[in-house]
Amino acid sequence: MDKQYSSCDEQLIYRYFDKDMDPEENARFQNHLGVCKTCSMQLEHLKNQAEALADRINEESEKADFYALEKKVLGEIRRKNRSFFNWKDVLFKKIYVPATVAVAMTVLVSFYYFYMPLYSPPSAIINSFTGEFSSVMILETPETKQTILWINEDESFNVENQSV
């Protein structure tokens, strides 16, 4: 059989069946179907297969309870989500956070009671100091941190002292 334009091409049969041809091509293929029994029989076979499949799908769809199925799927999803977050939530809120707070409090209290006493502030803080003196020293006793002001009086005070 002479091939006309790409005739007896299986792909053309599928495209024709899927209505995937432009009008010109569609008309040409219809003319070919009029003269080619092989392509006509293949097209008919394709149509029968498609109808049988559609009938089977409809039959099964009518039997299925989509509502129950949807409910089952959603329930499964919720169950997984709940179980996933629950143990982590419990672990975080009821164990990690209180444990962290307890450790922080212990550290702070220990610091306050054990470290702070080691640091003893001076007994006196000097805001200002003026006078007639030759020199002044500010000291601190090593143990009790008592502040000491040592003043070397001006020599004129000593002269007056002798006269007294």
């Binding site: 803080i125 200002s128 003026t130 008592q146 502040t147 002001l149 003043i151 005070f157 000593n158």
Partner: protein, 153 residues
């Protein structure tokens, strides 16, 4: 529904307020500060430590090289905030103490030492409660005078 008696509620409120403000009354009142001034003569001429100074001996020895500590005088003053107190010291010196305020654990004191009309020193200190400051240096007889100024409030 719970009924609240207004009179009782007001009374409870007043009591709670009084309890809450009780610690503040000290601040509002003019509290008195107990101030002690001990005058000590320190020298290297002999070896002697006044029995009353034994608790201070280690502290003094940790800083000074004196071998003798004699307690010449000890005065106790009770001064309100803003009131002036004076202590006569050896060598014609006078120590004037004025408590300025109390903040937390420290009292602010103004200390002035003068001789006749001359000001030896004038200082303002913040002294911790139940502690002391040691002021020393003025020459007297064969040693130096040390003044231990303590407070409590």
């Amino acid at each position: 529904m719970l009924r609240i008696n207004p009179c009782r509620a007001a009374f409870v409120f007043l009591v709670l307020t009084a309890i809450a403000l009780a610690p503040c009354t000290r601040a509002w009142a003019r509290p008195a500060i107990n101030i002690g001034v001990e005058t000590i003569l320190a020298s290297q001429k002999d070896r002697f430590v006044d029995p009353k100074l034994l608790p201070l001996k280690n502290e003094l020895n940790s800083v000074f090289r004196y071998t003798s500590y004699r307690l010449i005088n000890s005065r106790q003053l009770q001064l309100n905030i803003g009131r002036k107190g004076t202590v006569q010291l050896p060598g014609g010196r006078v120590l004037t103490i004025v408590p300025k305020n109390i903040k937390g654990k420290r009292a602010t004191l103004s200390l002035m030492m003068h001789k006749k009309k001359r000001n030896i020193f004038n200082t303002e200190i913040r002294l911790r409660n139940h502690s002391a400051i040691i002021v020393g240096g003025p020459k007297y007889k064969n040693g130096n005078l040390i003044f231990r100024i303590s407070n409590s409030f």
